[in-house]
């Protein structure tokens, strides 16, 4: 029985980062992974979707090229080469996954390939081999929920209905797609396939898509997607699925929609398989942990999607660092109000902290300032003016408590807000920070000027 300081169960962005960090801090570490390292994120999530989205963006730019003075004599000769598009995705994923395997190796982490079953808080079984560890980090991630909808299981078996993993590996471009659910992943797939020319319908149970996202962002994105031709049906109750047809009810009316592909994107659930022998406390969202990511069982830590605090790769990684550091005697913790989250739509969304409504509910003396991309010189120069920034601050000190950006590079731009909030920066600091001209990032400075006093580059009704 090989003995380790730490056994990490699951090699996703939570597990592999925890393992590398712990090894860097001097621990002897094993990772148990039944699939490829990199987890959902690298193999089936973040990376393949963003690789495909890049192709979709290129296609869009191509179709719009004449507005930039670049003509394609015969636009019909532009063709999506599906096999090449998929091949590129696979190559990118393989390269990054290979990189992670190398990183683990170079940091001296041993990777065991196979399904791990936890025997007790110090022992893990991998295909009959026993590993012992002083500490255990559970990082088994999550899987798509397949709710009980009549006929759905049969539709999956017949190859019509797929989950996100299926949706990144379709054998040909679907002419039409119905997406059940209107969360972030749904919006990304709607963007991807709509941009490639697929007819996309989103069926959303509640009043609007992107629950939990700031109101202005939701409104803008919903409007924008509709303008791009995505059909969004809200207040839907899904009745049953019949092959490629979804039957649903809306405002008391029975309706149906038929499509090449049905994408089921109705949330994810923690992967608890292999953990049955541990008397883990499990809450509504997943395994319950304290600030240092320790579960109710001393020496057993849990991180990432398995805990379900924020189902994001960078959260899994950050939690991995906290767990590794906690085990190795360093203390750190995550302020979940300072974690950015992104939507890779066109335009992108980057958000952090409180939405306006949340800030009010939390009792801040809320100040809000927005600035539109349509008044930004660089956005005009680039011909992409849909978007804005909204800064939510606490008037007491001017502290920035939330920033919401819709813009072409919003996912990169939100880092400015993240570091500001980390440093407990105020709108005064943001306004005084000289931003380069011409850049999209100037909207942040302008909105901050608006929070302090008045922005320069827009006519403010007062």
């Amino acid at each position: 029985m090989t003995a380790y300081d730490i056994i990490v169960l699951g090699g996703g962005p939570g597990g592999y980062v925890a393992a590398i960090k712990a090894a860097q801090l001097g621990a002897k570490v094993a990772v148990v992974e039944e699939d490829r390292v990199g987890g959902v994120c690298l193999n089936y999530g973040c990376i393949p979707t963003k690789t495909l989205l890049k192709s979709a963006k290129v296609y869009q730019d191509l179709l719009a090229s004449s507005q930039y003075g670049i003509d394609i004599e015969n636009p019909e000769t532009v063709k999506i080469n599906w096999p090449n598009l998929m091949r590129r995705k696979t190559q990118v994923v393989d390269k990054i996954v290979g990189g992670v395997a190398l990183l683990l190796k170079h940091n001296g982490v041993e990777v065991y390939k196979g399904h791990g079953t936890v025997i007790d808080a110090q022992t893990v079984d991998v295909g009959g081999e026993r590993l012992s560890g002083k500490n255990l980090i559970l990082a088994t991630g999550s899987s798509p929920s397949m709710p009980e909808i009549k006929g759905l299981k049969e539709s999956v078996e017949a190859g019509y209905a797929v989950d996100s993993t299926g949706a990144i590996a379709l054998s040909e471009k679907p002419r039409s797609m119905t997406i059940l659910g209107g969360g972030v992943i749904s919006v990304e797939f709607a963007t991807l396939y709509r941009s490639l020319g697929t007819k996309v319908t989103i069926l959303q149970r509640s009043e609007g898509i992107l629950k939990g996202v700031d109101e202005s962002v939701r409104d803008t994105m919903q409007g924008h997607l509709k303008k791009e031709g995505v059909e969004i049906v809200t207040n839907v109750s899904i009745k049953h699925v019949d092959g490629s047809t979804v039957h649903y009810e809306v405002e008391g009316q029975a309706k149906s929609v038929e499509s090449d592909v049905i994408l089921v994107s109705l949330g994810r659930k923690p992967n608890l398989k292999g953990l049955e022998n541990l008397p883990l406390e499990i809450g509504e969202k997943g395994v319950v942990v304290d600030e240092r990511m320790q579960t109710n069982i001393p020496g057993v830590y849990a991180i990432g999607d398995l805990c379900g605090k924020m189902m994001l790769a960078h959260v899994a990684s950050a939690e991995g660092l906290v767990a590794a550091e906690a085990i190795m005697g360093e203390t750190s913790a995550i302020d979940y109000r300072k974690v950015p989250s992104c939507i890779y739509s066109f335009p992108e969304v980057g958000a952090i902290g409180y939405s306006e409504a949340e800030a009010r509910a939390a009792g801040f003396d809320v100040g809000v300032s927005t600035f539109p991309l349509s008044a930004n010189g660089k956005a005009m120069a680039e011909g992409e003016t849909t978007g804005f920034v909204k800064i939510v601050h606490d008037k007491k000190y001017g502290e920035v408590v939330g920033v919401h950006i819709v813009a072409p590079h919003a996912t990169d731009m939100i880092a400015e807000a993240a570091v500001s909030m980390m440093l407990e920066g105020t709108v005064y600091d943001m306004a005084k920070t000289i931003h380069p001209h011409p850049t999209l990032s100037e909207i942040v400075m302008e909105a901050a000027h608006g929070a302090v006093d008045r922005p320069i580059h827009i006519i403010k009704k007062s």
């Binding site: 007491k396 000190y397 440093l423 407990e424 105020t426 005064y428 600091d429 306004a431």
Partner: protein, 60 residues
């Protein structure tokens, strides 16, 4: 820029200012901040740590 936030309890200060004040054994709540919204900056700590005779200079 507003006055220092001494009266309201919380002190806006930069990470470097805090570290420097700690190194020099200065009470950051007693230092006048000249940064945005009265934030205590590195230069404020440097000024405060200089001998009293020099302090006249920055009164102007």
């Amino acid at each position: 820029a507003a006055e220092a936030n001494v009266t309201t309890g919380k002190v806006l200060a930069t990470p470097v200012a805090r570290k420097m004040a700690k190194d020099l054994g200065l009470d950051i709540t007693k230092i006048h901040g000249t940064g945005p919204q009265g934030r205590v900056m590195k230069s404020d700590i440097q000024k405060a740590s200089q001998p009293k005779t020099l302090e006249k200079d920055h009164v102007r």
